[in-house]
Symmetry: C2
Subunit: 196 residues, 2 copies
DNA sequence: GAGTTTGTTTGACAGTTGTCAAGGAAACTC
DNA sequence: GAGTTTCCTTGACAACTGTCAAACAAACTC
């Protein structure tokens, strides 16, 4: 087992524990000891693999991004009509809303933290970019399938859809049974307006 | 000077200090002592006027809402054409983005916190509702002036515009000179699509 | 103006936090 | 298998947190 890989593996294990804890408690309430408690290690080990707390969180954010921005790739590649793409997109989006709620809560929390914590900004910006590209792939494919063109630019499309999704994530705790359907409905209202 | 009013005045003074500090440091980094330091009082006085920290923050949120949701009322009332309404709306929105950045940062921070801190949820929900109504007043007036109807419902319209605004707030620190114009541009792309 | 209520300061408390160093265990090297 | 490196635990530290009570000052009451 390569030394580099082993270190990286430990980092990943710690990051996954940290992400789990962060997703449950949020940034403000998560301490290094709490993260270590929810892992197989003790609190001291964190400083063996990470310089400090921000370094760990920053690593978590970067690790997280590798898992999230390819969520709709299969739908984009396999859909053969606009309607199929839209329904597949809605299905996947409401699914991740329900099944990965803590991660989405954490993402919006961390993005807010990045406004106050400069060290988080580059990582958050990188993810935001990935997500924008993800939305843009969906929208351009949607336009292609319907023989139209996107009628807004990529940052706009991302901000709009992200606004709807964030609203759903924030509202999900209060209304878990209704919010996914509402999100679907609202996306259906808006998606056709983004092509012309 | 009435006793009730005096208590309320002190609460407001403390809330304004707290909002100032919170807007600069964010929720996670703001302590009661820091709030007191930025006010004319000492840290002990907080517990004379507020039960605990959450009670203070919750009061701050409620106080804040009374100032923010009427920002566009004058524009809505005085505009005589759709274009006038739009340009007045854009002007006011980019203005508050620039002039009240800390408050907007704080709002998005607190909304994220409300996903983890149940006690904040009712207050955050109340503000979200006010903001949704604010956007809806603008959109219905816009439709009226252009002899059309809104083509999306109120929660959708709010989520879309809020998504664009949050993107601008998050990006403002990195690019203060370009972001307001980009926000204007993106709103112009989308506003005509919200009526039909 | 003495006495009481109201408002504010000060200092202390218990608990938590990030950080780090010293020591031990485990793995690896030759 | 002795010695060395790598990894992990433990315990400690200084700083900071929310909370509260006791002392103090100011304002008000009669």
């Amino acid at each position: 087992m390569s030394g580099i890989d082993k270190i990286e593996r430990r980092r990943i294990a710690l990051a996954e524990s940290a992400l789990k804890t962060l997703g449950e408690l949020g940034y403000a309430r998560t301490s290094l000891r709490e993260i270590a408690n929810n892992s197989e290690f003790t609190h001291g080990v964190v400083h063996y693999y990470f310089r400090d707390k921000i370094d760990l969180i920053s690593y978590c954010v970067r690790y997280y991004k590798t898992k999230c921005a390819r969520r709709y790739d299969e739908v984009v590649e396999t859909a053969t009509t606009g309607d199929e793409l839209v329904s597949g997109f809605l299905a996947r989006m409401t699914q991740t809303l329900v099944e990965e709620t803590p991660m989405h809560k954490l993402w919006y929390d961390l993005r807010a933290q990045s406004m106050f914590e400069d060290q988080l900004r580059p990582d958050v910006e990188a993810i935001d970019e990935l997500l924008e590209e993800m939305i843009w792939r969906i929208l351009t494919r949607y336009a292609e399938l319907t023989r139209t063109k996107p009628s807004v630019d990529a940052p706009t499309a991302y901000a709009l859809i992200d606004g709807l999704f964030e609203q759903a994530v924030v509202g999900y705790a209060a209304n878990p049974e209704k919010v996914p359907a509402l999100l679907s409905d609202r996306l259906l209202q808006i998606l056709p307006k983004l092509i012309a």
